[in-house]
Point group: C2
DNA sequence: CCCGGATTGTTAAAAGTTGTACAATGTAGC
DNA sequence: GCTACATTGTACAACTTTTAACAATCCGGG
């Protein structure tokens, strides 16, 4: 059901046979479970944001801005924080500005720059939506693990996140 | 850096304060680590498929088809297996057909239906790309866990995958 | 056989994303 | 203060995904 061929193909070229470090059965099922959960969870959370007229990306912007000092952030920083390209973020903010959720604001001291500012409506929207979203996250993910599993998985994932973040930085 | 507000907002309405099951600190950091790893890993694996002129979605199709009986699958089944909409899959297959990787084939016994067939080129491409992909998956993910962690995480994730799969089915 | 409803896959148009180039600044070294 | 170079955000064009509608086909009940 999931993807990413990582076990030996049904028929392997004898050449790659010798050298490719195919995943073991245990690794394989873990990898596929991870992929499947990621994808389906994304789908389900998006689904449950729809009634609020927000896509997951919109919500992410609202969260990051709401946690930022003065509820605003430079476009580039926001793009970095949300792992989007500057171009994509620019479009995204244009849409959210049209929806009244954020506002572009000149940046004193750097006339090249702009702030993306959370509006009152943006802030209120976030306050209204967040409780539902947490419930979704709990229902479909967090509450399905024991506290021990949660700690263990965090310990395991944190260095991987670190690694990937570093890779990304360099390009 | 990541997203999805799931902890209490800086200022909570007293109403939601009482009723919203905000994540604990431990839950929060786990949740954000999971999100971050998912997103960045996707990005990185996509990046490392680029030299082969394949997007992750293309690769996923190749994998699923290569594992299917006769290396072909009904469009609807393929859409389900890869968690895509029928429309999106249709476009995707059109592109891959243009690239010579797959071929649409009439479906004997159901004249509405079509098979998506892996071509020789598609199969060969898969054989060629898979080794590199496994190495990527190992380098950025699998090899960064101990065998014990892998088993534990699989045990934890499998029921969640099951849950989400069921949800998806009903819509 | 024939009807009504469900299923299959495609399509057109709208919406969103990506990559590249660009204009407007900023900044460091001379 | 100039020049060279880096940074900021946008704009355009190409591409991908979504949404909604549709034609063709199948299937079950009368």
């Amino acid at each position: 059901m999931e993807t990413n061929l990582t076990e030996a193909p049904a028929v392997s070229a004898s050449e790659s046979e010798a050298e490719t470090p195919w995943l073991t059965a245990a690794e394989q099922r873990f990898w596929r479970a991870h992929l499947e959960v990621s994808k389906l969870l994304d789908y389900q959370l998006g689904r449950e944001l729809q009634p609020h007229n927000l896509a997951i990306n919109d919500y992410e912007i609202l969260v990051v801005l709401s946690e930022a000092p003065d509820r605003r952030m430079r476009m580039t920083d926001l793009a970095t924080a949300t792992l989007q390209s500057k171009s994509r973020l620019s479009h995204q903010i244009t849409r959210m500005e049209a929806a009244g959720l954020v506002l572009r604001q000149e940046c004193p001291g750097d006339r090249r720059g702009l702030y993306a500012n959370l509006t009152e409506l943006g802030w209120d929207t976030m306050q209204k939506v967040a409780p539902d979203h947490v419930r979704s996250v709990r229902q479909h993910f967090v509450d399905r693990f024991t506290p021990e599993q949660i700690d263990a998985m965090y310990q395991a994932l944190a260095p991987v996140a670190e690694h990937l973040r570093n890779l990304r930085g360099r390009g």
